[in-house]
Symmetry: C2
Subunit: 196 residues, 2 copies
């Protein structure tokens, strides 16, 4: 019942990867359907049939981006100490922001900070997505406080927010063309603030 009809001539995940890059470079509003479908190598009706509409395509793109392009964030949480969690995250982040085979910066920030023509729904979706990462980091750091890995009384949520702030600031810099070494120099400073 699923194999009937003309078979799809493209790989939805691969097409999604192309869409990710377009959204990444131009933002949600700046990415037109013409840009998107051209990059994806499909026609408009195929896109609508496969993903629904532009906003849904974007949400799927962001989801896939979070799972694949930001896998380093989840991996960093597995580091044994709070300091190494933070360092691993910020280093991998600085590298990811300056990959030569991908647009500079971070989709979840470049996608759209301000509420565009819609009532900020896209921006809010992205903000919620980012906040999810921050909460995960906060939980990991709270565990570190419990374990005595971080000084007692350390505000894990605030420290997590600080780390994410540095990461987002680096994303802004990367989008502006700042190079990898400079981002790592920023990380060098940022790490000095981590309690030991």
């Amino acid at each position: 019942m699923k194999t009937r009809g003309r078979p799809r001539a493209f790989d939805p995940d691969e097409a999604l990867d192309r869409a990710i890059e377009v959204f990444w470079e131009h933002g949600y509003e700046g990415a037109s359907l013409a840009d998107l479908t051209t990059a994806m190598g499909i026609n408009r009706p195929s896109m609508y049939a496969a993903y629904g509409n532009k906003e849904e395509l974007f949400r799927r793109a962001v989801t896939r981006y979070a799972e694949h392009d930001m896998a380093y964030a989840r991996e960093a949480l597995a580091e044994p100490t709070a300091y190494r969690v933070i360092e691993s995250f910020l280093r991998a982040n600085a590298d990811a922001l300056t990959r030569t085979d991908r647009p500079a910066g971070c989709l979840s920030i470049q996608g759209g900070l301000a509420g565009g023509s819609d009532n900020g729904e896209v921006a809010q979706f992205l903000a919620t997505s980012r906040l999810g990462g921050e909460r995960a980091l906060a939980e990991r750091l709270a565990r570190a406080v419990e374990e005595g890995d971080l000084p007692a009384g350390t505000d894990a949520a605030a420290l997590a927010r600080y780390v994410m702030t540095v990461s987002e600031g680096n994303a802004v810099h990367a989008a502006a063309g700042v190079d990898r070494a400079s981002l790592h120099a920023t990380v060098d400073f940022a790490l000095r603030a981590v309690p030991s």
Copy 2:
């Protein structure tokens, strides 16, 4: 020769302030001429006569924003020590990002990070504008190194970039609705990294 003809019925600077808020909230692309002229209280032809076109209006808005809404940045540079320069800047920045009488966040970031339909000219203009602030701070910090106020060998440019990174990250958080106290908590952490 200037007082001939029908007098202008609006104050260009005040109208510009209204335009600033629209760009601030919706970004360059998300702000339509209908939004802008409505907020400015003028008709389309009046806008074109007074400012040229949408992009020119935006550039003037950003310029005025930098001069007025970010005056605290220049004032911070006048503080006597490097640490107080940085603290003053980050504190005032956190307050400015969460003013209740203005949109949350920072125009020069919300205006547009990604290159939209144009070839990223607006994003580049904003990036250059931000970089100007970073350079001014770097020069102030370099002076502090010379004066022995910062440890010899301190990389003033890197420290300035770090401070701006925190400020930009806070702007991203503020745009997402994070409150003032949380931004200051981030500043608390950030200041620990400043060499003394």
